[in-house]
């Protein structure tokens, strides 16, 4: 059976060049970067080289990069650390309604610790209006966090414009760039942010490693106390092989970005056009133009996402869904709900996220196997039966 992986928003495969770069650090080169001997020096040099590579990817300087264990950790660190460090100044934070849970739930934790939280809404395409951010600001607002792009619906947010608003007011501005860093151009100076999260497994680096970029002079409270690793801001022995892999992945992403984007955009645009043409009652979610190059997200009416996923999986096609059934919390995607998509439609969410390994043949195959699956589930669906009856009986 053909196997097609179109779930790169969940995690990207590790590139062979990245694996090769990592291999020595899983073997003979095992030193602790904090050690003051040859073994330590070699490991430290590798970590610092990676720091420079990551910094170059986002137009930053190397000493502003803090390595973490994941995008989730970077986001937790930013929200809690940048909030707590400023609590004498104010206790109000602003995030968008469609943030990743690692931002949203961290902000909720700040609430439990006595902060106040404002959620900025999005429009039907998932776009944050910078004026809504402005309106949410108060005298005691100390932190704004808006994601660079939403991995679930692909919408890219107007970070530059929002950055102007926060800069006017002198408020610290963080962006979760996990979905964008290494995928589309990200330049921290151009974006006008003060802190930015990224993760290795979103651009063909290893899982279990991320970074937080923090503008020089911006203070933060560490999440992890211990030694003086990462300038005392993130204690714990560094994950050297993963950090080396992240650096290599960053270097490759920067070198190949334009070609990768063109490839992904072609695949994305084809599916965005051909899937709704092939299957009735399918809605494209997210912004049509300001969109991640690899993201093709839909809602399929009258059926539920998990059953689509399982049947697609049985045909070798791996995708994801934001339906309630696929989430452990049994709640439909907060992103789709915030965009005003009705619950029953959100249940039919289906996300294809392309990677550089995908080919036009992968789309051919997905477009071949999906229509019978949708048809089969619709034949089983009481909602579809009602719709058919209503359209036959009605006007």
């Amino acid at each position: 059976m053909r196997k097609v992986y179109i779930d790169n928003a969940a995690t990207t495969p590790l590139l062979a060049e990245v694996r090769e770069a990592m291999t020595p650090y899983l073997g003979d080169v095992f030193g602790n970067p904090s050690s003051l001997h040859d073994w330590g020096n070699t490991a430290r040099e590798a970590v610092e080289a990676s720091r420079a590579q990551v910094a170059q990817l986002i137009g930053a300087s190397a000493d502003e990069i803090i390595f973490t264990g994941s995008g989730t950790e970077s986001n937790n660190f930013a929200i809690k650390g940048l909030g707590l460090v400023q609590q004498a100044k104010g206790k109000h934070v602003v995030v968008s309604a469609i943030e990743h849970f690692s931002v949203l739930h961290s902000a909720r934790t700040l609430e439990k610790w006595g902060f106040e939280l404002s959620l900025v809404p999005v429009d039907k395409n998932g776009v944050v209006d910078p004026e809504d951010v402005r309106r949410s600001l108060r005298k005691d607002t100390v932190l704004v966090s808006i994601m660079h792009a939403n991995g679930e619906v692909g919408t890219i947010e107007p970070i530059k414009e929002i950055g102007k608003v926060t800069k006017e007011r002198g408020i610290v501005f963080h962006t979760d760039a996990v979905a964008t860093a290494g995928t589309i151009p990200v330049d921290v100076q151009e974006l006008g942010v003060d802190a930015l999260s990224l993760a290795g497994n979103q651009f063909y680096g290893p899982q279990g490693v991320g970074a937080l970029w923090l503008r020089k002079g911006v203070r933060i409270v560490p999440l992890l106390d211990g030694g003086v690793q990462e300038g005392g801001r993130r204690a714990g022995t560094e994950n050297v092989p993963a950090i080396v892999g992240l650096g290599k992945a960053a270097e490759l992403a920067k070198a190949n970005m334009t070609a990768r984007m063109e490839h992904l955009t072609r695949l994305r645009d084809r599916l965005l056009t051909e899937l709704p043409a092939k299957i009735d009652h399918v809605v494209v979610t997210g912004h049509r133009q300001n969109r991640l190059p690899g993201n093709a997200s839909f809602c399929v009416e009258f059926i539920e996402g998990e059953s689509m996923l399982m049947l697609l999986d049985s045909q070798g096609v791996a995708v994801t869904s934001g339906s309630a059934c696929t989430s452990r919390a049994l709640k439909a995607s907060h992103v789709l709900i915030a965009m005003g998509i009705p619950h029953e439609l959100a249940q039919g969410s289906l996300l294809f996220s392309f990677g550089i390994h995908n080919t036009p043949e992968d789309i051919d195959y997905a477009l071949e196997v999906l229509p019978p699956i949708v048809d089969r589930l619709r034949q089983m669906s009481p909602l579809y039966a009602k719709f058919i009856k209503a359209s036959k009986g009605g006007s």
Partner: protein, 130 residues
């Protein structure tokens, strides 16, 4: 995605008794698309036995497997026997359901029960078939 038992997967991939019954003796509808699952059961009753059971389901893999299993368990049973089908007995027949999916199985037995109640109340009204 939760890991389903082989039995759940088998029923999900090959669901039994999918469809509607024309002029059913009872219909039971439960759930709503907001929580994720919706099931409609149709029954045909002859001599106090479930001569035919069919269903339509909107929902996850577990919901579809549960519907299929309930229809299979109920078919041919007397009304009294069929009303004894519980979420627990359905889950057991399916060789277990993931914890967070157990609510789905509640719906299957409940929908069947509702269809039987519908039949009984129709009979009481003396209409029998509508």
């Amino acid at each position: 995605m939760p890991v389903y038992s082989e039995k759940v997967m088998e029923h999900f991939m090959n669901p039994r008794n999918v469809g509607e019954i024309e002029n059913p003796d009872g219909v039971g509808e439960v759930g709503n698309p907001i929580c994720g699952d919706m099931m409609t059961f149709y029954i045909k009753v002859k001599d106090n036995r479930l001569e035919d059971v069919k269903f339509k389901t909107f929902g996850c893999g577990a919901a579809i497997a549960v519907s299929s299993m309930v229809s299979e368990m109920a078919k041919g049973k007397t009304l009294e026997e069929a009303m004894k089908i519980t979420p627990r007995s359905v889950a057991d027949e399916l060789e277990g359901l993931p914890k967070q999916k157990f609510h789905c199985s509640n719906l299957g037995a409940q929908a069947l029960n509702k269809a039987i109640q519908d039949y009984l109340s129709r009979k009481k009204r003396g209409g029998g078939k509508e």
